[in-house]
């Protein structure tokens, strides 16, 4: 049993809920090492995604993710908008017109999302960005995909992303706004890594 468009819509819906719930927390994380807007940006973006989904319900998971990509690109702004936009766009492209996502395709799509973020933002692992959530997530996804269980893949990815977000605490930022702070960025968690983990946790939740 793979993942269908219903899962995709549930995923986005749970993501939107997570952004609304964690809005203040993400703003707070963006305050000491950024400009206090990440939670606001993500919440605004996913609210817009919800509106779009209601307007024109997508027929395939790929269509849902493409619609998400376009909406985030046009509504979020900042660094996160283009990065998440590219991630969802690449994932949508990887999925093509499939209506039933198996574990291998899922892992490939997640990998495509991560690669999109890296291609746009040029960050490497350890630079204290959302990449530090996504890279362990796709590694965990790839490692579990062989079992053929999409739920297991998503759970592994979510857990790895959460650990990845925590791992940004001691890092010195080398990309994004936090990099201006140099040494003073150490000891703070990267907001984009946290929102990434929330989104991947939502993906797992949607498959329950």
């Amino acid at each position: 049993m793979g993942l269908d468009v219903g899962w995709a819509v549930r995923w986005l819906t749970l993501s939107a809920q997570a952004m609304a719930e964690h809005r203040v927390e993400l703003i707070e994380l963006d305050r000491p090492i950024g400009d206090s807007d990440h939670g606001e940006n993500m919440d605004r973006g996913f609210k817009a995604v919800m509106d779009k989904l209601a307007e024109a319900p997508p027929e395939t998971p790929g269509a849902a993710l493409k619609l998400t990509a376009m909406t985030l690109m046009s509504k979020v702004g900042g660094a996160a908008g283009p990065l998440y936009g590219t991630a969802f766009l690449r994932a949508a492209t990887a999925l093509g017109s499939t209506s039933d996502i198996d574990a291998a395709t899922l892992a490939t799509a997640l990998q495509a999302a991560r690669d999109g973020i890296v291609a746009r933002g040029k960050a490497e692992s350890g630079d204290k960005t959302m990449v530090d959530a996504w890279t362990p997530a796709i590694e965990a996804a790839a490692a579990t995909a062989g079992d053929g269980d999409v739920r297991k893949v998503l759970l592994a990815a979510a857990e790895a992303a959460e650990a990845g977000a925590v791992s940004t605490d001691p890092m010195l930022a080398r990309k994004g706004r936090a990099s201006y702070l140099g040494e003073r960025s150490i000891g703070h968690r990267d907001p984009g890594a946290v929102s990434s983990a929330l989104i991947l946790r939502a993906a797992a939740g949607a498959a329950e």
């Binding site: 703003i27 305050r31 000491p32 090492i33 950024g34 400009d35 206090s36 807007d37 606001e40 940006n41 605004r44 690109m73 046009s74 509504k75 979020v76 702004g77 900042g78 660094a79 996160a80 908008g81 283009p82 990065l83 936009g85 746009r120 933002g121 080398r174 990309k175 994004g176 706004r177 990099s179 201006y180 702070l181 140099g182 003073r184």
Partner: protein, 333 residues
Amino acid sequence: MKKLINDPKAVVDESVEGFGLAHADLVTVFPDPKYIVRKDAPVAGKVGLVSGGGSGHEPLHGGYVGMGMLDAAVPGAVFTSPTPDQILPATLAVNSGAGVVHIVKNYTGDVLNFETAAELAQAEGVEIRTVLVNDDVAVQDSLYTAGRRGVGGTVLVEKIAGAAAERGDNLDAVAAIGDRVNQNVRSMGVALSACTVPHAGVPSFDLEENEIEIGIGIHGEPGRQKIPMENADGITDRLLDPVVSDLGLGAGDKVLLFVNGMGGTPASELYIVYRRAAQRLAEQGVTVARSLVGNYITSLEMQGCSITILRLDDEMTSLWDAPVHTPALRWGV
């Protein structure tokens, strides 16, 4: 947080709407997607100039739309870069066929969003050049960081490139003069207080009663270091010296000295800073040939200032002097 606002989420909408009403003789405001266009755009045969970025830096960028400066400005949410779906129609609206220059402050978000918009515009047949502004000496310029931020120098790039476009320079020439300004301009800022982003509701960083933050940017982001409060002359020296040494200024150089208020500092204090900076430059044999003092690129209601110096040559000087007619900068017309 006490602000003259209604719904925190409507701040940019309502402010830009008011701006459009107040300056209807100069600009047209498009509400959704939001961008501000010079009334008579596209100007036949002229290269278009588009800039944009997060809101909260007013009068940047909307205040600089008009004859001799920008053709369009694209305001994002407060401190959040605008999106391609705003930048693209702004770009198309000001393209007369001569191509469009994007003036982009070097922040990851601004760079990525303008990059996407440029790709989309090029796909529609508009030639685009991008001038990246990165004048903030508070940030280490390194391959391993996001690089220096674009701050006060942006105003000077917009004015001078705008004058070049207005006199009829072609696309490459306008971009080249914009780059030249960027290469010759450096800035550094200080905050005496933080600002509060309306949707966040709390100050963007914490400062003790006796602390100031040196090396701040324009997004309420913390700066290079917190130090105990000093007097104006001491603070001025801390801003001026790195700017002067990074530019390698020396006797015989001619400069434009720009003392910028961050939004919450009165003009009288900016002139105290200007006084010290002008005296120090004179001591070093540097001639202050042009001056600009006031709130031109701000951080909401932050108290503080930045010092920007542009090393002038004759062409930049005459383009600076060229007529400009925008809501926030006007002379010669």
